[in-house]
């Protein structure tokens, strides 16, 4: 146990920062069921928009996602600088990938600062679905 925690050992006089974990995201999370059910063809657009609006609220709420603590997000005040700006996400990640990132980013990057919103039940599966709908509008 002790050695696992000795993070600050000397290595030939050099401290090396570990390369970012590059492994692919495990597609472990179920897609948001409720949303899938709601997304009947006619309903799809308005339901998504409504969910995205809900997701924005969750993302900005200090007691919930509080994503602004670390990310610049369009429409949010007083953002932090710990994480990258959240924009152009639709081009970068699939929906499942975004769900995986928000659910537990430590799967992709064990050293990440980002809290595991799903694993630690800060957000429910449904709430994560809404947040991801919002992310896909950015």
């Amino acid at each position: 146990m002790a050695f696992v925690l000795s993070t600050l050992l000397y290595c030939d006089g050099i401290i090396e920062i570990e390369a970012r974990e590059t492994s692919l995201i495990a597609t472990f999370s179920k897609p948001a069921f409720v949303l899938a059910l709601l997304a009947g063809t006619a309903m799809a657009a308005p339901a998504q928009a409504q969910s995205a609006a809900e997701g924005q609220k969750l993302a900005f709420d200090r007691g919930k996602g509080n994503c602004l603590t670390c990310h610049v997000i369009k429409g949010g005040d007083l953002p932090g600088t710990i994480g990258p700006e959240l924009s152009g996400l639709k081009a970068k990640y699939s929906r499942d990938e975004l769900i995986a990132i928000v659910t537990d980013e430590t799967k992709r990057n064990p050293q990440t600062v980002m809290p595991p919103f799903g694993r630690n039940r800060i957000l429910s599966e449904k709430e994560i679905g809404a947040v991801v709908d919002f992310l896909q509008t950015l």
Partner: protein, 285 residues
């Protein structure tokens, strides 16, 4: 790399994201001197423009605009009131006629840099705040709250008389002292709370970054300016106050001030800042 026994950062508690390599060293050897060198080197490497002694200014060391604010603040330091009160309290005898000076080496003047120390009789770490309350109790006075007001005033005065002296924490040749150090270190790097943060997540991985509007202080020298006046608190806070506040911020359950874990944590954090000057009391945004 190949010469290193690369123990991969397997679990999330390895907050620094360093490859832990232990050439010619048993994996579980506790080596505070090597820790300290690596710790300081990490920060001077990350912020090459800063001198070692600059780190004690916390968030103000991290960018120039903030540094200017700090210089302006020092013209009319907001901790002045507390410092004056502390000086007076320190000189005022207890009901039994004794004073704080009677409880400390060198009458309590210029000794802040030696705290916390490992007390071989008790087998535990003793912090300055703890020593002050023990002094009160030994003289028939009620202990103070650890987090603010009186305790902050007393420690502000004691820090002030030690300004500029390099932090000088000793680890005696006693297995219990090494164990206390190691436990403090483990506490520092262990993730906890609903948000899954360790102290290192914020103060090693992200110093200088903004978390909302606050700029995170570097872990190096992070206790040298204690106690601090914070505008956000509109008042003074001690080391105990800062530890418990940081624990609450991550939606974790804070420990009680001066619990063993916090004493060990303070021991570790102070030891790895050895050599950096005491700068307390400090002022913060």
């Amino acid at each position: 790399m190949t010469r290193c026994l690369a123990i991969r950062a397997t679990i999330a508690t390895l907050a620094l994201g360093l490859l832990a390599c232990a050439p010619a060293q048993a994996a579980d050897t506790v080596d505070p001197a090597a820790d300290k060198a690596a710790f300081q080197k990490f920060f001077t490497g990350k912020f090459p423009k800063l001198k070692l002694e600059d780190f004690v200014n916390g968030p103000y060391s991290m960018n120039e605009d903030l540094h200017r604010q700090w210089e302006e603040k020092e013209q009319f330091p907001p901790y002045e009131f507390s410092l004056e009160a502390g000086k007076e309290m320190f000189a005022t005898p207890f009901k039994n006629g004794k004073t704080y000076a009677d409880c400390f080496p060198n009458k309590g003047i210029g000794i802040r840099q030696n705290y916390p120390f490992f007390d071989e009789k008790e087998g535990k770490v003793v912090t300055l705040e703890l020593a002050l309350n023990r002094c009160r109790e030994a003289n028939g006075e009620a202990p103070f709250s650890y987090v603010k007001d009186d305790m902050a005033a007393l420690t502000a005065y004691m820090a002030f008389t030690s300004r500029g002296k390099p932090m000088d924490i000793k680890i005696p040749n006693d297995p219990r002292a090494l164990e206390a150090y190691q436990k403090g270190k483990e506490y520092f790097y262990t993730r906890r709370g609903q948000l899954n943060f360790s102290c290192a997540t914020c103060h090693i991985q992200s110093p200088g970054e903004r978390i909302r509007a606050e700029v995170l202080a570097p872990a190096l020298g992070i206790l040298n300016a204690m106690p601090i006046y914070r505008s956000e608190w509109s008042g003074m806070g001690t080391t105990s106050r800062r530890f418990t506040t940081c624990n609450s911020q991550i939606r974790g359950v804070p420990l009680n001030p001066q619990d063993d874990e916090y004493r060990n944590l303070e021991y570790y954090l102070s030891y790895v800042s050895n050599g950096l000057p005491i700068s307390g009391p400090g002022a913060r945004p």
